[in-house]
């Protein structure tokens, strides 16, 4: 086992990985940009190394700086988390070159699966079903336009290097195709430094169902069953659950076998996810493989009892997987909600600012994966994902009820978040029925922002009572956090504070 691991990430996922390391008795190194000097992940780590400039490209995406930090602190391995450098083959390669273990698959496998075109060709060869489309090398706008017309509409235009909805467009009519190709190329270039696109038949009423796999260096591969990730907004997952409401035992076995086959076909090692599209007749197609830990891995952990991050570390350190497919079980039902700093009533625009009060819900089978705390400033530099809320219950209804309770008891003030929107989805009749596709939000919440709630009179009464209580003494309104000595401390920046906030 490694003695020391550097975590090349920030926020909730850095914290989740740090805790796994600490439980395993492995020393930890955090990295942080100037904007994150006081972030919880830095506090938690045994050591930390600064990356400077808050711009991602200068900090969390800077391969040299991170390798340097690992060498300086004597870290034997690097866990990349998700996002940032997690699926960057050059980073994995740089680690391999520096004699540091990259906790993930080999760089050439990342490269292969990162190219959506090659990946699909490989899967086709390995007999894993794929969606009809153009996965070729010719990339002139004109040519792509013709290919798109040939496949027909609706059509998906997608960055070959992409992920997370960036560089992706759905085209319904021929007239929209040209602008979509241009826009997707521009976004892809900016996000991934590569503007190669692929075109695909856009499925009617598709579900997004993915399988988690674990593979060691000795050829042992198991899958940890499925996750249903159909609830998406702008191709960004919002709510995930496991098991999928449409899954049958037979279909699960078929898809699980396909997932293992896909991983085997490319010599995959470590944790990975095979994403499938499932159409209304329950046919499934390989979409892509994510060669890293997923944001939504906790719902698999809740239903299987397996700690995916700890297995990633064990596999990377050369241990064998001792789990076996026959004894792995999927039990109960788990749901994850992603808490974003965004305003659903204002076109879901990202928000930034200071979190004046953070008190997540606590209770049996409620898991909070958080990168935030009271007093923290949320900047516009990074992803607006503040926290993940994961619950599990004996069955789907139980889990939904628990999630509604948890969201209703999530005190998260200072920045507008999507918690009310999440509650609206969970209590929607169609969601309760399990009648969900990737179009769910577009279908049922197209004009949702228009129905922003009236402020209840009780809220106004509470505010004025609060102000009245404070008006009585008249002193504490001027209290500032003078005891914090560091000028960059978030407690200083946060400005005026009431005691105990």
């Amino acid at each position: 086992m490694f003695k020391k691991i550097l975590i090349a990430n920030r926020g909730e996922i850095a914290i989740r990985i740090l805790k796994a390391c600490q439980e395993m008795g492995v020393k930890t190194v955090a990295v942080y940009s100037d904007a994150d000097a006081y972030s919880p992940h830095v506090q938690l780590a045994d050591e930390s190394a600064p990356l400077g400039n808050p711009l991602s490209s200068e900090s969390y995406l800077n391969i040299q700086k991170i390798i340097h930090a690992a060498v300086e602190t004597g870290a034997e391995a690097i866990h990349p988390g998700y996002g940032f450098l997690a699926e960057n083959p050059d980073f994995a390669y740089a680690c391999e070159n520096a004699g540091i273990t990259f906790i993930g698959p080999k760089s050439d496998v990342i490269k292969l699966m990162g190219n959506k075109i090659e990946a699909k060709q490989r899967m086709e060869k390995a007999d894993v079903p794929i969606i009809p489309g153009y996965h070729g090398l010719r990339q002139e706008n004109n040519f792509l336009f013709k290919q798109g017309k040939k496949i027909g509409f609706p059509l998906l235009v997608k960055a070959a290097a992409g992920g997370g909805g960036k560089g992706m467009r759905i085209v319904h009519r021929e007239e929209e195709l040209e602008e979509a190709i241009e826009g997707a190329k521009r976004e892809a270039k900016s996000a991934f430094g590569n503007d190669t696109l692929l075109l695909e038949k856009y499925l009617d009423k598709p579900r997004h169902i993915e399988f988690q796999i674990l593979a060691d260096a000795y050829g042992n591969i198991v899958h940890l069953f499925e996750r249903e990730c159909s609830i998406q907004r702008r191709h960004q997952k919002v709510i995930e659950e496991s098991p999928s409401p449409v899954m049958t035992a037979e279909m699960r076995e078929k898809m699980g076998k396909a997932a293992v086959k896909a991983a085997k076909a490319v010599g995959y090692t470590n944790a990975g996810t095979i994403e499938f599209m499932v159409d209304s007749s329950l046919n499934f197609y390989f979409m892509e493989m994510n060669t890293r830990l997923q944001v939504e891995h906790p719902i698999t952990e809740a239903t299987t009892g397996v700690d995916i991050v700890k297995w990633q570390i064990r596999i990377a350190s050369g241990e064998k997987i001792t789990l076996c497919q026959e004894t792995l079980s999927q039990r109960g039902h788990a749901i994850e909600c992603r808490i974003y700093a965004e305003d659903p009533a204002n076109g879901f625009l990202p928000c930034s600012g200071v979190l004046t009060k953070v008190e997540p819900p606590v209770g049996p089978n409620i898991r909070n994966d958080m990168g935030i705390e009271t007093g923290m400033e949320v900047t516009a530099y990074y992803d607006p994902l503040l926290a993940k809320l994961i619950v599990s219950g004996e069955n789907r209804e139980d889990a939904i009820n628990k999630m509604v309770w948890a969201l209703s008891n999530y005190v998260l003030l200072g920045i507008t978040t999507n918690t009310s929107f999440l509650k609206e989805i969970l209590t929607h009749e169609a969601f309760r029925r399990g009648d969900i596709t990737t179009h769910f939000i577009d279908t049922h919440f197209k004009n949702w922002f228009a129905t922003r709630p009236e402020i209840p009179v009780e809220a106004l009464i509470a505010l004025s009572v609060y102000d009245m209580m404070n008006a009585k003494s008249g002193v504490q309104k001027e209290v500032t956090v003078s005891s914090v000595s560091d000028p960059y401390s978030p407690w200083k920046r946060a400005g005026k504070w009431r005691i105990g906030d």
């Binding site: 521009r186 978040t417 402020i455 009464i461 609060y466 009245m468 009585k472």
Partner: protein, 166 residues
Amino acid sequence: MINLEFSYEYNNHVYKLTAERAKENDAYLITFNNRTYPVTSSEIKPGYLRIKLDDRVIKAVVAEGNKNMFVFLDGNAFNMKKVLPTSKRIEKKDGLVSPISGKVVNVKVKEGLSVKKGDVLMVIEAMKMEYLIKAPYDGIVKKIHLSVDEQIDMGMIPIEIEKTEG
């Protein structure tokens, strides 16, 4: 006896309330929309209020930011602007305001050009996503304040459009 007036702005609407402290220390009379609510209130822990109104108990959490106040009630968070009693409301610009802070990645129009409602004028990138600034009405581009790669803040006016009548 203290008697104060409070104003809060939510969703572009200003709510005015008056509050009066009754004889007992924890009893208040709150008046809103010509109706008076007699309440008693205790602060369980900082920001956590338990307010009794008739037979009902209102449980609310209040937190203060620099310019805003936040109330958490029945599972919903409300973000209110503080309105100082003496301040006048700032007139809302009837034009183009950036809804987000980010970087300008594309300017689609030139000064003097005429545009149609819904035309894309500018593309802003923030948090790795693209946001489109569209024309709010038919008109002519009067002034472009920002060019590609410049930083834009939420609330800034990136482009001025002169409305075409009729």
